[in-house]
Symmetry: C2
């Protein structure tokens, strides 16, 4: 198909498609003339993914390039999820949270290690998510809003159930590219969906408390 048809099919403006081509996010089409190229279904699929990552996922062009690189190199559902998981921005660390030299000081690193051990989660200490959680807990302590003992473990048990649903959404897909793309969707695009459900549930529970008369 021509670039105009690719634009119509995906809802991405032609100017944006050309930008993604220049940035190397989208592979070039098959040249049919000096200024014309032919695009296929794989371009449409990739374009929908780029759009999802940059809008719903909120990723920068540079981050999108990293994720697509991980997608292209990944094998199998574990490879895809693993590679994509490490390529995506770590939640809560859009801006550096720590001043240099502060990380090693606090007890939060040990707290995270103990939590993982208690949960029997097999995660290497080098995981960016271990570092992210350590930084987040440190920031919460500064705000005097630490989790009470056991509270973090209660959240973690629910996170475990959510992750189980996440993985179920990724199995049963055989084509490696589709599989890797599904990993991106599950990790980057579906995270806001759960956060929205959580906000809605909070709204409901606040309303019930008010109706129950035990509120302020």
């Amino acid at each position: 198909m021509k670039i105009s048809e690719l634009s119509r099919q995906t809802g991405v403006p032609v100017a944006s498609i050309k930008y993604f081509l220049r940035q190397g996010l989208l592979p070039a089409g098959r040249a049919t003339a000096a200024t014309l190229a032919e695009y296929g279904e794989e371009h449409a699929q990739r374009l929908r993914l780029i759009k999802a990552l940059t809008t719903l996922g909120g990723l920068s062009i540079a981050a999108t390039r990293d994720v697509l690189g991980a997608v292209d190199q990944a094998h199998g559902v574990e490879g895809a999820l693993g590679a994509v998981s490490y390529a995506l921005p770590v939640p809560g660390t859009a801006q550096p949270v720590e001043s240099p030299g502060e990380v090693a000081e606090g007890g939060e690193g040990a707290e995270v290690a103990e939590l993982l051990a208690a949960l029997e989660w097999q995660v290497p200490g080098t995981s960016p998510h271990v570092k992210g959680l350590t930084a987040a807990l440190k920031e919460l302590r500064r705000l005097d809003a630490q989790y009470a003992p056991g509270e973090l473990a209660a959240y973690a048990r629910l996170a475990e159930s959510v992750a189980r649903l996440d993985l179920e959404r990724a199995v049963g897909i055989d084509d490696p590219v589709s599989l890797a793309e599904r990993a991106v969707v599950v990790l980057a695009v579906c995270a806001p969906v759960f956060e929205l459900l959580r906000r809605l549930a909070q709204e409901d529970q606040v309303r019930r408390r008010v109706a129950g008369g035990d509120g302020a």
Copy 2:
């Protein structure tokens, strides 16, 4: 205390404190001389909150101002949670997802309404989170990555349990300002913590699948 001491106590550079004062995020100190002002514990508390919102929460200065405005006007745990919840950016909509005129077309609005009815959640259709969820589901359908029947409800049930933990973290605080600030922390700052726990749980489960030999 002087501004230099305020900076030391909160870890926020003096230049940033002056910027927050100019932007009206932080109330002015008590003037003690032409170029000197005295700051109190309430300034330190507010400053820690601004820092948390702009770093861990990832909020812009404008969004931070909106949230602080909601904090200052809120009453009680329900008022605080409600006001802050609506003032915060809606997850997944950092950039506009919908083209104009598209929202009313799809069946996602009805899907969200049916979901809320099935869950018996009391949430008005005007909630920004209803609109956000509708837009997210539409985007997932474009990516051919819809939730299977019942899958979204399974996520919603877990979100309900998470919201229950969230509300428990906000009760038992009497001072209205502390209460509103806790609402901000729970809603804006703790969201990444759950997302990090989810990523860690995913890492663990991927590892177990590989070890179990049922992976690629």
